[in-house]
Amino acid sequence: MSAQLLFAALVAGSLYALVALGLNLVYGTLRLLNIAHGDLVMIGAYVSFWMLSLFGLPPVLSIFVAAALCGGFGWVIYVGMFRKLLATPALAQRLEANSLILFYGVSVILQNCVALAFTSTARGYQYLNEVHKFAGIAASGNRLMLFGVALALCLGMLLFLRFHLFGWSLRAVIERRDAAAVVGVDVDRVQMVTICIGFAIAGVAGVLVSMTEQITPFMGFPFTIAAFVVIVLGGLGNIFAGIVAGFALGFIETFGVALTSATYRSILIYGLFVGVLLLRPQGLFGKAIKIR
């Protein structure tokens, strides 16, 4: 096993874990399957591109801008839409049952608004692309930064959930929403903050990928797919397992390809996805949960 492959798996895994983390938080607390999640990644990428092109702001600072913008978007749609909807049981039920389709609508709107505003021409910029060599690994600066930031955010989130009072309420809402309300958790506030955090994380992921990929209004969908594969592997709503699953996917992809051939990459990933859904819908690491 070469160190280089290990590094590739870690980078891929950390990105998968980060993108999936936001999706999983939103699903866990609001029971909404946000298929527009990848489009928030796209918005983060555009934020980074424009901040650098217009104001010379480096991506390492754009992270905060993208987080604020995407988090703010989450706040707007929660306060403007979901709060009222979730308060009415009939609407809440409809929302949950059709969340995937509803967010497909959101996704279409976001992609086309961006295409309308910035055209669909591919964009790109150079940042930290010098290559560092250490311990038998060659790594470009931007990929190291991607790995560092993604890992820090994932670990930070885990610590937050474990040790912060608000993190406890968040976990309580994910695990037992009704019971959490009974013991005095402010469910509304938890949901609002979670959607902001979830969206903000997607925005940050966007900044990170924009350093290494071309930026277009339609770049988001593959990230949505990857995030879905990850949270299915980990079990929907299971935050810790989701992060583990993100790294696991990075390893499975990298070493799966190394052992077979790159040509089987997509079959491997979708095969894994379908296989897990068929055989262990609660996730590879999850305990059986009731499916509604």
């Binding site: 280089q4 980078v11 055209t119 290559v131 990929e213 339609f218 992809e253």
Partner: protein, 392 residues
């Protein structure tokens, strides 16, 4: 006072408008469909921009010469959502409902192929542009022509000859599974064998690949003289970034689609200097006097360089139509006759069709040299000598 000035200018403007209305001929309406949304949306601007630039130029010169009469040009455009079935419907609409005078081409091979029967049925000629496949030749010649020189069998053949001339002994081939890449590979592999160039790695990968570490490690282990990456835009970016990271050392590196995009050099900068790609146009070819002015005009209008494949082919297709119409007028059969027989003077030099294909423009290769795209093969059109890739 200010009111008076305003009034004056208003009257003056009205007079100008009235005068131009009195003079104006009925505009020539040119219809086309473009993939503005959907799978291929990314490719649309480079082509639409070229069309618009052509329209501006023609209208600024007093209009399109229709067998001696100058008439202004306007476009009738629709979005086909990257879906061939929609494009078919749109061209039916353009022909039957909108009754446009002329047609311009959409983007992508599948859509061109899907349109061929419609054009034959309505006996409506259209000069194609970006389509590239040997299957184009299976279309009965008649109402569609392809000015491109990127036809897979010739690309395979020429690339092998090019590599041979640069003393390449071994090559690694990494190929996307999408049609154009696979088609080129199917001709490249036997051509390389014919020229005695050994193939050290021959791997395929899917379009949504996110990491090439394994592939590039394999390449590095065999240390070939050339790395041929038959890539689409997203993986062209990925390959270049990771090739730099992993220090690919081959002096001859080719990336298929994407390397001509403005964003490619923006994102990858110095590291893709001396990268070879497929294309048959460079602004620096002095034998084509229209090439440089086109490049300058495009850059002035859109603040970016034209794509050396899509923008150029789109613009050429309209130049060909323009020259055919100048001779034949708007009669469809006469246009067909003209396109089939004339030799055209385009930004890409002379073009003449034999059957559906451009028989003049040679299949060529470009190299990124210090930020500009230079033709490096074949010798008949080259603008600069090939330079080996020395680093990233």
């Amino acid at each position: 006072m200010r009111l008076l000035t305003k009034l004056k200018s208003l009257v003056a403007a009205a007079a100008v408008v009235a005068a131009s209305v009195a003079q104006a001929e009925e505009p020539v309406r040119i219809g086309y469909s473009m993939s503005l949304t959907g799978l291929f949306a990314q490719a649309a601007p480079s082509q639409v921009n070229a069309f618009e630039l052509w329209k501006d130029k023609v209208n600024a010169a007093g209009g399109l010469d229709v067998a001696g009469t100058k008439r202004p040009v306007e476009f009738v455009t629709y979005d086909d959502q990257s879906n061939p079935a929609n494009a078919v419907r749109i061209y039916e609409k353009l022909i039957a409902e909108d009754k446009v005078d002329l047609l311009a081409a959409p983007w992508s091979t599948p859509i061109h192929l899907a349109l061929a029967p419609i054009l034959s049925r309505h006996k409506f000629p259209m000069v194609g542009n970006t389509a590239a496949s040997v299957q184009l030749r299976e279309i009965a010649p008649g109402y569609i022509w392809f000015p491109t020189a990127v036809i897979p069998d010739r690309v395979g053949e020429e690339l092998a000859a090019f590599m041979k001339s640069k003393d390449i002994k071994s090559a690694a081939i990494l190929s996307n599974v999408l049609p154009l890449s696979q088609e080129i590979k199917s001709f490249l592999v036997p051509a390389l064998e014919k020229h005695g160039i050994s193939i050290s790695v021959n791997e395929n990968y899917p379009p949504d690949i996110k990491d090439m570490t394994t592939l590039l490690t394999q390449v590095n282990e065999t240390a070939p003289d050339a790395v041929i990456v038959l890539s689409y835009p997203a993986d062209s970016f990925l390959f270049a970034a990771q090739a730099k990271e992993l220090g690919i050392k081959a002096p001859f590196v080719l990336s298929l689609i994407g390397a001509t995009f403005g964003s490619y050099q923006q994102a990858l900068g110095e590291s893709v200097n001396n990268m070879v790609t497929v294309g048959h146009w460079s602004p620096n070819q002095a034998d084509w006097p229209k090439a440089k002015p086109f490049f300058e005009a495009y850059k002035a209008k859109y603040n970016e360089a034209p794509d050396a494949l899509d923008s150029v082919l789109a613009y050429m297709s309209l130049e060909i139509l323009e020259q055919a119409v100048a001779k034949a007028g708007l009669d469809k059969e006469k246009i067909r006759e003209a396109v089939s027989t004339m030799t055209f003077d385009t930004i890409n030099g002379p073009v003449k069709f034999e059957g559906v294909q451009n028989s003049v423009t040679p299949t060529s290769f470009l190299q990124i040299q210090d930020g500009s795209l230079e033709l490096v093969w074949p010798d008949s059109v080259k603008t600069k000598d090939f330079r080996p890739k020395t680093g990233w």
